[in-house]
Assembly symmetry: D2
Homo-oligomer: 350 residues x 4
């Protein structure tokens, strides 16, 4: 945090955050207080309590209940979508048509045609930044691994093992969410898919296979979903990936990745330590674990916001690092194929 | 090592070791000096230098160059086969017909019909012990995990992740061995298959999928083999397994497993530490790793020999813990299906 | 970061940062952008380049070259001293006399009489907050350990082992700094002294012993200083502490503590991992380490600023958690005794 | 375990084990079954049950109830003393006078004059091997660290931190043992003293300081002993050591050391993992710990026996690695000084 680079000088980027749920609140506070070169100009939510929260916790942004009204605000340069997944695609299209840069939480859409429709619109607005929030790319440990790989530390990377494992929620929120989540692979594994492609040089997938089991949450069966899923993905460049997603971990959110190369390997987050404390007692020696992805990726959400602002200020062609719409489409494409493989018991060729 | 239990009292089990390569030497020394209730009565090898070694390092066992002659020795109760894989099946059959108990290194056979032929012979000799050497079951850490699972520590185990990863051998011995090894899944992953079935309650497999890549050893391509392979195995009881096998690790032999249950998980050998030393220098803090499976499983080979002797002394129906011929057949069955899946790019239903 | 608690509502605390070196810059940025309920109202530095930096990186605070002028600014409620150690005592006294709350980086003073003079002044201004910056108390891991101890997790804590070990600086800055640093125990170990007292219930010391060696930096000898020092401290309540301070670590800043109780123990920062990456290559498996205390305690500096502001807003008698002037005096008292013990080779009774 | 080296050829060393308590049993079994070049020729114990155990568990050694009778046995080349500490010195003298090599468990004697008397006798019998059982030198991890230090991996080693921490025994056996144990430093820390000297080049101590506390076992107070003791030892060569001994650990036997050098450091046994299993459950991620030194140093006891036999076969001047009588005397000298420092609260100059 030295003097801001030139690219962050000049008028701040005026951002409107749309959706103020738990994650929306975090994004809003980061943008309001911790992202140089940005101003939180507006918030948008249909819920009274969320707007009331904004009044107390944020530096007086303009308030909107209606997304269209926000888009009409000429003093908003970019929108930050933290809304239900089913709204993402159309909201991105609307924002681009209104001439605004867009950051949107993942997923772009569970529907490939929708994804492509958004890409089409974005191609007509090449001067606008559109980024999907795969925040792991901005976690300092993932970033360090990425940089070391690019410096050649492990030779040629040819395989990624990656997992998204949530602590078991006995209330089973995600069971109620199952009808619209797209299933475990589109809801969780998309992150691992993006990580694998990012670390392996953005290859396209050629074939996938998936399997799964219901360990604890029988309610998932009626939706054809599982609470533990595994998958293999083969890429066109010869790269391989193995994925694991779980909703039933006992010890916490255990989310991490491993990259294997011809001269070494790196593991990111192998033990999801919550901090630097080790406890020694009659049970042995232990560390506690990060309870949720929200705790695990606290820094990543901030850095992703800082990177987005820097990317807008650099303009088209800049090196920003976030997931593009094309990356998000590929993640959906692979995630959908995993779901189909789970349903059919057959490998799916893309 | 307190006073020997009753079952180890009485006349010692007289064992003949067949094959005195590196692993045969270790077995012979364990049986000669470290297994209570057993005597190393004979050795058999066609090679002068191996017999010469035996004369210097072992307590004067009888020497044979010919396996048939060893089987004729009435003062040998059991044979210990550490011979080339292609000989295993017939040598086991011959031993059983000669009325001798048999311990045989894995694999039983790469050919399913051969496996079944051996099982048929063993069923005709139910008073004889026949064990295949899946030594991981006797590693103290695997054994501890097994016991804890059976005590309910992690609830119902439903998934195993297991890997056999060798340090890269630039000389590529295994490339020359490829024509007869059966490929990476039958050569390496059989261990993981056996571990997964053992930890999940010995289920039968219903479907498998495999993929692989050649990272370093192009010479494997002509045999349809890979130097890094991944696989998914679904079991009839709903259990899942993921496997990884590699010939190209930079850091050592990294062989371990993870068992995931409804109330917890256990990892065995996650960091393959060679000992208890940690080094702190300008590269950070590090531990060195076990170079080969031979070092990693030194204790397991001993305990497996002790368990075999105890099992013979307990007689049929005893609880001995080693892999049965039926276990070995199932490992070959699954390993063969993985190979077929690798070749075809399709899931294989068993 | 939910809605601000009541205590942080109302007019912001207006703070003036004095000294804009590396650490001063960090404090200024934290106060400017990341501490709710505070405003960075002014900065003070005699150096052009530091003031120039402030103009670019901070939100337009008033600028002063002269400390007295800052104290005259009626719109400054608190001063934040990040100045050379020799100035601390008088600057605190001046601030208190000017009616301003004070945060001051450690040490309070290397001179016990000076420490007591400051305490005397503070007692005359009981409505003003005066805190010394022992930031480890605000590191999330130290804080977690503290809370767990208070919840009884390890029974009665009776011993602390604590260390401050810097990566070797071949340039030997600290050798040139030796004449005024007070030596390794007053410069480094004061942190460990404060940690030990904080975790053991703020006992007074009754006897100390220290020893040391010069491993690499012979230039220290002329000042009677060492680059590696060890010490034992016995407290009046029966508690024990062992300290280690080093200037010559090869692997990074390795700063941590261990608390031992009658029912368990806790280690804080045993392996100073820089992040969540593990590298596996021909050297084994390793993690990189935090290079400096500045990296290691980044979060702690922020939380300490937040706690100070909260403490001022709560008013006298609040539970703020930072080190009081009395704590700082006791740290100096013990540190001075350690130095004397090092010089004499005798235990020193306090 | 390849062919035995020449030095182990020839007639086996005929050993008589004296004392068959828990540790004596282990030594006897190692010597009987696992040490090449040695024969367990005789055992000596005044207790019926120990001799009965020997009959069942050992290969028919000659039995003696009386030490003098064993010394008269001309077919015993060496005695292996696992007897009460108070007997060690005289038993060693008697053995040497009887022309027998001696291995004796630590300590040589708690009395310095006694130690010197034994050394005097040994100097009159330079052709006889006399070794004191500081087994840590033979633990594979300690040995690896020693070798790496000698290869220069950490530059010049200048400091050792070492600890002997036993799991708390609620029965307080060691309290009843306190009158004769010599106190925590002579009973436990002697091991750390020997380790420190061994790793730092066998320096002599010049000054020590010790302190301690009674955390749980009040019964120790009447003997002037403590259940947690800390100490600093300064060596003539500028080396430093810090020691910690505890009887009250909750998590197991936590015995290890750290060596710090000018170019790096090594930790041996920092986390006393009992095996390679990690458990992940609602308490976090943990490993269990070695319960006792007996489990922790199982390998070391074996290797120490092998080294003793090799040393005898090499003859005087050989490089054997075990602690000499002079090493043991120095350990007693330092341990006694630590006890005196604990009693007086003063540093003790040697």
């Amino acid at each position: 945090m030295m003097a801001a680079p030139d690219s962050l000088q000049g008028a701040p980027l005026r951002i409107g955050v749309v959706g103020l749920g738990r994650l929306g609140k975090r994004h809003a506070q980061n943008l309001a207080y911790r992202v140089r070169g940005a101003t939180l100009a507006a918030v948008c939510s249909p819920l009274d309590e969320e707007l009331a929260w904004a009044r107390g916790a944020l530096p007086a942004p303009r308030e909107y209940r209606d997304y269209a009204a926000l888009l009409d605000d000429r003093d908003v340069d970019a929108v930050w979508l933290v809304t239900p997944s089913a709204l993402h695609a159309q909201q991105i299209v609307d924002a681009l048509r209104a001439g605004k840069h867009v950051f949107c939480e993942k997923p772009l859409s569970l529907d490939l045609a929708e994804c492509e429709r958004v890409l089409g619109e974005a191609q007509r607005q090449p001067h606008l930044q559109a980024t999907i929030g795969f925040m792991r790319r901005f976690d300092p440990s993932y970033r360090d691994a990425y940089d070391k790989i690019h410096a050649g530390l492990i030779g040629r990377p040819f395989m990624v093992r990656s997992q998204t494992c949530d602590q078991n929620d006995p209330d089973g929120f995600f069971v109620r969410f199952a009808p619209s989540s797209g299933g475990i692979f589109l809801d969780c594994t998309v992150h691992d898919i993006d990580v694998a492609r990012w670390l392996l040089g953005k290859p396209k997938a050629k074939r996938v296979y998936a399997a799964g089991t219901v360990a604890l949450h029988d309610g998932l069966r009626e939706f054809g979903d599982v609470d533990n899923g595994v998958a293999i993905c083969e890429f066109e460049n010869g790269g391989l990936a193995m994925f694991y997603a779980s909703r039933t971990m006992a010890h916490g959110n255990d989310t991490g990745s491993e990259v294997i190369g011809t001269a070494g390997a790196m593991a990111i987050g192998r033990n999801p330590r919550v901090n630097r404390v080790e406890i020694a007692d009659r049970h042995g020696i232990r560390n506690e674990c990060t309870p949720t992805f929200f705790d695990r990726f606290e820094d990543a959400f901030l850095h992703e916001a800082q990177a987005f602002v820097a990317a807008v200020k650099q303009g088209p062609g800049g090196e920003q690092g976030g997931a593009t719409l094309a990356d998000a489409l590929e993640a959906t494409r692979i995630g959908s194929a995993l779901r189909r493989s789970l349903e059919t018991g057959q490998a799916v060729t893309l």
